[in-house]
Amino acid sequence: MSPRLTRRGALTAALTLVAAPWPATAQPDALSAAIRAQIGATVPQVGGITLRAPAVAENGGQVPVTILVDSPQTEAAHVTAIHIFATRNPTPDVASFRLGAAIARAEVQTRIRVAEDQQILVFAQMNDGTVRRAAADLRVTAGGCLT
């Protein structure tokens, strides 16, 4: 057995450990399935993304989120896609952004809905195939999904 396979096994185990402390979502399988549908089996690296969201959102129906990926956005090194997930929403999918050549800066701002206190996850896919990950905890005064 090559050391590469062993390392992959170790990475998978590490990812499982990282995934475990995520708060028990209503359907954790739905979250991991939604993430897998966007980034495949790639193991994300933590960091390289600035995720700006309010620590406490008064209105869960309109929560401003800014995502800025640390990338020069040149032909040689750029972000191809940004994906947003809300870990404890009834459906974790929020949005995906695919960036083309005219995009000058790997930054997008949007407004999302959050049902309750939870973690927002952001994944950025780079043109070299790597994936970055960032998370932000969010508290909500009035939930924005089910009422």
């Binding site: 129906g61 309109q62 929560v63 800014t66 947003i84 997930f85 809300a86 929403n89 009834p90 459906t91 974790p92 999918d93 929020v94 949005a95 995906s96 952004f97 695919r98 960036l99 083309g100 050549a101 005219a102 995009i103 000058a104 800066r105 930054e107 997008v108 701002q109 949007t110 407004r111 999302i112 809905r113 959050v114 924005g144 999904c145 089910l146 009422t147």
Partner: protein, 108 residues
């Protein structure tokens, strides 16, 4: 509802070549997930699914909007142009209805 509301877009009329400029878009839409219960009523699912921005016909930004996107989707992003360009915006909902807008940005 027969059509989609007209989008509101803030984009400069002219920029310098290579300048990074901001584009803001807002479109009124309830973004109903179909999961909500309003008393006894459950409003049916009605979601904008996609926003596509093209620069001279080449894709610049392709956004898949899903349940977690807030009502009246608002987006900000940054573009850079080498020459005067036509920027087109298309929003599409689950029924295939579309809202469109187009702006010319002059590179001085």
């Amino acid at each position: 509802m027969s059509g989609l509301a007209a989008p509101r877009i803030r984009i400069p009329r002219s920029v310098r070549a290579g300048e990074v400029f901001e584009v803001r878009t807002l479109i009124e839409h309830p973004m109903e997930t179909g999961l909500r219960h309003d008393g006894s009523r459950a409003p049916p699912r009605d979601l904008l699914e996609r926003m596509v921005v093209q620069v001279n016909g080449a894709p610049a930004l392709d956004v898949s909007l899903r349940n977690g996107t807030a009502a009246n989707p608002f987006h900000v992003f940054f573009l850079r142009l080498d020459r005067s360009s036509e920027i087109s915006f298309v929003w599409t909902d689950a029924q295939g209805r579309q809202a469109r807008a187009s702006h010319r940005v002059t590179v001085a």
